[in-house]
């Protein structure tokens, strides 16, 4: 199959630093004229979650209690119960680096497609309404593979 000028990304991680890297790459690619699709699965769904409790059953509600939204994500290292997040954000602010939530907004403005994974939403009991309105209809692995097979660049973060 002919590769198109596309970037397909799987966002599995819910770590603040990895989400930041993902959106930096996505916005950079979109700015360079690439068509970008980001598939969010498992912990990555937190980057799309609204600030609200999720879950239907007992386990789902317990999980929903622990899940964060993009503003509350902790870095993968030096989390220190939220202190690391606070410190990193302060340092990023001081150096004029956009925060993850600002980069997400920019990515959407640049036309990056935001696609959640249906299966992980089912398992984690997250509804479409729990995600930001800009998220497209949830898809499965076949949709990702189809998109990835046409993409020059694929990344798993």
């Amino acid at each position: 199959m002919e590769k198109e000028n596309k970037l397909s990304m799987v966002i599995f991680s819910g770590d603040m630093d990895k989400i930041l890297a993902a959106f930096v790459i996505a916005t950079g690619a979109a700015a360079s004229g690439m068509e970008v699709t980001m598939f969010f699965t498992f912990w990555g769904l937190q980057a799309l979650k609204k600030s609200r409790r999720t879950g239907k059953g007992l386990f789902g509600k317990m999980l929903g209690f622990m899940l964060k939204d993009i503003k509350k994500l902790n870095p993968s290292k030096m989390s220190f119960c939220g202190l690391g997040r606070w410190m990193f954000k302060k340092m990023m602010r001081a150096k004029n680096v956009p925060l993850p939530e600002e980069l997400r907004k920019m990515a959407i403005e640049l036309g990056v497609k935001i696609v959640p994974c249906q299966m992980s939403m089912d398992v984690m009991e997250i509804q479409k309404e729990d995600l930001i309105d800009e998220a497209q209809a949830p898809v499965g692995v076949a949709s990702f593979l189809e998109e990835a097979s046409k993409s020059k660049i694929t990344l798993f973060i």
Partner: protein, 79 residues
């Protein structure tokens, strides 16, 4: 040589870090007619590598890029 080209738009990118210079440049260039020239002024040394790379991938023409004092000046022509 580059001094003689008059830019259609001057973009202040001072104080911005990756990926913002490239994002702002692509947003600014979107609204311009082909052939228009944008001058960018940045302070992030990363633009010396990134603006030429952006020009190659996006298919726009980098006319010049240079360091002047502690700023980086570049001229890009929209294709």
């Amino acid at each position: 040589m580059a001094e003689q080209i008059k830019p259609d738009l001057v973009l202040d990118l001072k104080g911005l870090l990756c990926p913002m210079p490239v994002v702002k440049l692509s947003q600014a260039i979107k609204n311009l007619a082909p052939g228009s020239v944008v001058e960018g002024i940045a302070t992030d040394p990363g633009v010396m590598a990134d603006i030429p790379a952006w020009a190659r991938t996006s298919g726009n023409e980098l006319i010049s890029i240079e360091k002047r004092d502690n700023e980086f000046h570049f001229l890009v022509r929209k294709k």
